[in-house]
């Protein structure tokens, strides 16, 4: 005989203002199975929990219903309280009378009857609850970081520092990511490579870190603490153990038409290449699409010049499988394509560049060796126009661009403008802006310095059109504060293109079963309180794959993700969700429908003996691996006989809720 206790929370006035809590408790007293009902101001408070515990003991309650806020808030709290009272924690059900009732209804005449209906459903359900015991699963003490930019490097360093092994999978031949492409960093103007490369070296030398560069994740199976990841190590056609990075092959390679990714395609590289001088690992990679030997069978010069004998044209992709306890997505960003912004003449003129391309132009290791010259004719520019918010802050129905602010553009544009004016005071620099957004330590001071000390001219307005005319770029834009339309004959135009997540992130998110927002940024488990965790347990987020951010923010988030990883890996075992599927072997037909529908491969079949109504029989029966099942319930509907059921959300429980709700009519 079940004895149910019902506790109705006021949540201060949050619930009590629109629900007559005493009336709800009163109504519950006449529900079948209910032996105790009470209301209290704050059930989640320590006093509230003590009342629950006392009532469970005093009335020997077998189940508890809390009418309060969403179970997503305090289900755990009340389960723990029930446990302290000696009750199985899964004998607790929550009636959500705050989010689903008191907060959306205006008066007690509406709120109270609905709260009663919801409470009834919870009572009906708890009457059918069965005590559940959580299982345990082991934790693989190794982490995987996907993406080898500053975010991935920092996360890996911090995880390694805590004593755990960590792999970095990076799809390009070197770690370093976007930060390696930057010339200077705001607001201190220190050299990006100078602060990044020590970290890259540290990652390479850490005994706990393994770098899997030129590799991609192909498949992710398993669950928190127990991921099995398939990684493809793409063929470099170079034996990384032998290659010394002398770059003799790079100098001699005759195929020199490959687009240089590191310089944003502003110049070309050889088919065998080392992305940049400080690349890690500092080994060559052959671009198979460009290599003459691999395409035609002729050439082979790199093999001849390599004194280390590292070239191996027969190398094949290698597929490895590893187990990880935690996975960190650190897949980063890229500038958007500007094909829909024809008005800026980006496609027509090589002198219209994106900011990341401009970064390479300013960089001493870039295509112009750091000389500020026009890409079209190599001449020194005298007039540069920067345009901000290109593709950022567009409305959804504009059909192009992104709705969000890309966050970093105001600062890097100020940086670029300042660097130009510092080195070349003869160059007139104008920045068209909509708003200058500089929240951040020393950020606004930096921007003001650009304007006040370096003479960068900020124009409040937007460029409408750019076109080529007589060797110049004619820039037509509005100067709203001076109420005039400007027509500027410029030598170069720099576009602060919006940033977007790397395109491979979507496929990765699907593999990880991690959710994304409409812009393909990874979603957080909670936008404020769990910003570095994905809603999928065991998957964490680091850097710009979660949203636009600058380097200091990325590093901070990377560290935060690392501590979450460390927190997980420090556990030997994880408690598993007991709300998993379970097959009643007397009802199972052995048809395999459930097996086919299970997304986790948690169901297997075997021939087993059963005793059905006194008769022994050998049957083909389903069984569920409780450590692998995650409790979606897909199998329960695929099963025609009803043999497959879900603990905690059993057919009879849901049916009881339906009946109780419909009784309100």
């Amino acid at each position: 005989m079940q004895k149910i206790g019902v506790f109705v929370c006021w949540c201060g006035t949050n619930i009590a203002a629109t629900v007559d809590v005493a009336a709800v408790a009163d109504a519950m007293r006449s529900e079948p199975g209910v032996v105790y009902a009470a209301d209290y101001q704050y059930m989640c408070s320590e006093v509230g929990q003590q009342r629950l515990i006392a009532a469970v003991r005093e009335h020997a309650l077998t189940g508890v219903v809390i009418c309060a806020c969403s179970p997503r808030m305090h289900e755990q709290t009340f389960r723990r309280a029930a446990e302290r009272a000696g009750l199985n924690p899964y004998m607790v059900e929550i009636a959500n009378i705050r989010e689903q009732c008191s907060w959306i209804h205006k008066d007690k005449a509406v709120g109270t009857p609905k709260a009663i209906a919801l409470a009834r459903a919870a009572v009906a359900k708890v009457l059918k609850n069965a005590p559940l015991t959580a299982g345990e699963s082991p934790v693989a003490k190794r982490a995987l970081v996907i993406g080898g930019g500053i975010a991935g490097i920092q996360t890996a360093l911090d995880v390694a520092e805590a004593g755990y092994e960590v792999d970095i999978v990076e799809k390009s031949p070197t770690i370093g990511g976007r930060m390696a492409q930057l010339d200077k960093t705001f607001p201190t103007l220190d050299c990006s490579a100078c602060i990044l490369t020590p970290k890259m070296v540290e990652a390479a030398q850490s005994p706990n870190i393994e770098l899997l560069t030129y590799s991609e994740v192909e498949k992710v199976a398993g669950f928190v603490g127990n991921f099995t990841v398939t990684i493809r190590k793409k063929a470099r056609y170079v034996d990384t153990n032998r290659c010394t990075g002398c770059a003799e092959c790079v100098a001699k390679c005759p195929a020199r038409k490959g687009k240089n990714e590191f310089n944003m395609g502003l110049d070309n590289r050889s088919a065998i290449y080392i992305p940049f001088a400080q690349a890690i690992p500092n080994v060559a990679t052959i671009d198979a699409s460009q290599c003459i030997k691999l395409r035609t069978g002729k050439c082979g010069i790199c093999e001849k010049v390599c004194s280390a004998g590292a070239i191996d044209y027969n190398q094949r992709d290698e597929v490895i499988e590893r187990r990880y306890g935690a996975i960190v997505a650190a897949t980063g960003f890229r500038p958007i394509s500007l094909e829909k912004f024809g008005e800026y003449a980006y496609q027509e003129s090589p002198d219209v560049v994106t900011s990341l391309e401009f970064e390479r132009i300013l960089n001493a290791a870039g295509p112009t060796k750091g000389q500020l010259v026009r890409p079209s004719d190599g001449k020194h520019p005298h007039e540069i126009v920067f345009i901000q918010c290109v593709g950022s802050r567009c409305s959804e129905d504009a059909g192009k661009g992104k709705t969000y602010c890309s966050k970093i553009c105001c600062m890097y544009t100020a940086k670029h403008a300042m660097l130009v004016r510092e080195k070349y005071p003869d160059v007139r620099v104008r920045v068209f802006y909509i708003d200058v957004r500089t929240p951040g330590k020393n950020f606004d001071e930096f921007y003001r310095r650009a304007a006040e000390q370096y003479g960068v001219e900020y124009v409040k307005g937007m460029v409408g059109k750019v076109w080529r005319q007589n060797g110049k770029l004619m820039v037509q834009g509005s100067d709203l504060l001076n109420d005039e339309q400007l027509l500027i004959p410029a030598d170069m135009v720099v576009l602060a293109a919006a940033i977007e997540p790397e395109p491979g992130a979507r496929a990765l998110a699907t593999m990880l079963t991690a959710s994304m927002d409409t812009n393909d940024f990874f979603s957080e488990a909670h936008p404020k309180l769990r910003p570095v965790e994905s809603p999928t347990a065991g998957v964490f987020l680091s850097g710009a794959c979660q949203g636009p951010k600058d380097i200091p923010e990325t590093v901070a988030q990377a560290g935060a993700a690392a501590i979450k990883v460390v927190g997980l890996l420090s556990k030997d075992r994880l408690v598993t969700n007991p709300c998993v599927a379970h097959s009643n072997e007397l009802l199972c037909n052995g048809c395999s429908q459930c097996e086919k529908v299970c997304p986790y491969g948690a169901i297997t079949y075997s021939e087993r003996e059963v005793v059905d109504r006194g008769v022994k029989d050998v049957r083909r029966l389903a069984s569920v691996n409780e450590a692998v099942c995650r409790g979606c319930g897909a199998c329960t509907v695929a099963c025609p006989s009803g043999a497959m059921d879900l603990k905690g959300f059993a057919n009879r429980q849901i049916m009881a809720e339906v009946d109780a709700i419909c009784r309100a009519k």
Binding site: L586, L587, N589, S592, V597, R620, P640, S641, R652, M655
Partner: protein
């Protein structure tokens, strides 16, 4: 057909007497001229009653669930449509293939009291998806070109209220005798949800009128993507309810939406495409 029938019976006997099979599943004559009842023959004497003619409509495939649990092989005489049903049962591990000898029997359409059976008017084809040997001839291979969705389309054309009145008047005849469930080769659960007190829907006697229609909706849904369209539900129904219409509606929809299915393969309902249309 005449010679095919004779050859089928002769071959069945031959296999029985040679000891190849332990028993023969076929039909015997019933009380009425048009009535043939499933029969299991285990002796030479019994086997004399084996009949195969134009009245052998009943689908014997489901009997094999129990028979394949017995010692030795059972010979089953299956028409092409029956073989389709057996194929489903084999693919769902309900019948042990090793224990069954399938003698495919050619068919020119079966008849009942009122002439050609409904399921035969729109025969789905004369191929045997599974068999050990098949006996047929040219005549048996001719497929009538009836449109099996014609009735479904006709009902779809009716207004919502007309459809409702149609099904209400049909389903109101239901006496919950479970003949449809018992004959259906896709309804092979050890215990039906409607007989299981834990399912929350069991009912020996209907507590309210809705329960019978719920039974038929749920039954149609449970066999969705698995139904072989053998038409036995309607043939078996003592009240003459056209139950096959529910199944055919689902078959038609699945065909239009998800490209159809062959029972026994992966059911479209345990499959998906990201590009599927919205409900």
């Amino acid at each position: 057909m005449q010679t095919v029938a004779e050859r089928v019976i002769a071959r069945a006997k031959e296999l029985f007497f040679s000891g190849e099979v332990r028993r023969v599943l076929g039909w015997e004559r019933g009380e009425f001229q048009h009535e043939r009842i499933p029969a299991l023959y285990e002796t030479a004497e019994q086997l004399e009653k084996l009949v195969y003619d134009e009245y052998c409509g009943p689908n014997l495939s489901k009997e094999l669930i129990a028979l394949s649990k017995l010692e030795g092989r059972t010979l089953a005489i299956l028409k092409p449509c029956d073989a389709r049903s057996l194929n489903l049962l084999l693919r769902e591990y309900r019948v042990d293939r090793e224990k069954v000898y399938i003698l495919g029997a050619g068919c020119t359409g079966m008849r009942g009291r009122d002439g050609l059976l409904l399921k035969c008017e729109t025969c789905r084809g004369k191929d045997f998806p599974v068999f050990d040997e098949a006996i047929d001839d040219e005549e048996c291979r001719k497929v009538p070109d009836g449109d099996r969705f014609a009735d479904v389309c006709r009902i779809e054309q009716m207004s919502g209220d007309e459809r409702f009145l149609f099904f209400r008047s049909e389903l109101s005849k239901c006496i919950r005798c479970n003949a449809c469930r018992n004959i259906c080769p896709a309804c092979s659960c050890n215990q039906c949800v409607f007989d299981n007190p834990d399912s929350g829907v069991s009912s020996k006697a209907s507590a309210d009128p809705f329960e019978d229609s719920q039974f038929h909706i749920v039954r149609a849904f449970h066999v969705a993507g698995r139904c072989t369209d053998c038409g036995e539900c309607s043939r078996a129904c003592p009240q003459g309810i056209p139950l096959h219409l529910l199944n055919r509606k689902i078959i038609k929809d699945i065909g239009e939406l998800y490209g159809g299915y062959e029972a026994g393969g992966r059911s479209p309902l345990i499959d998906y495409r990201a590009s599927d249309g919205e409900a």
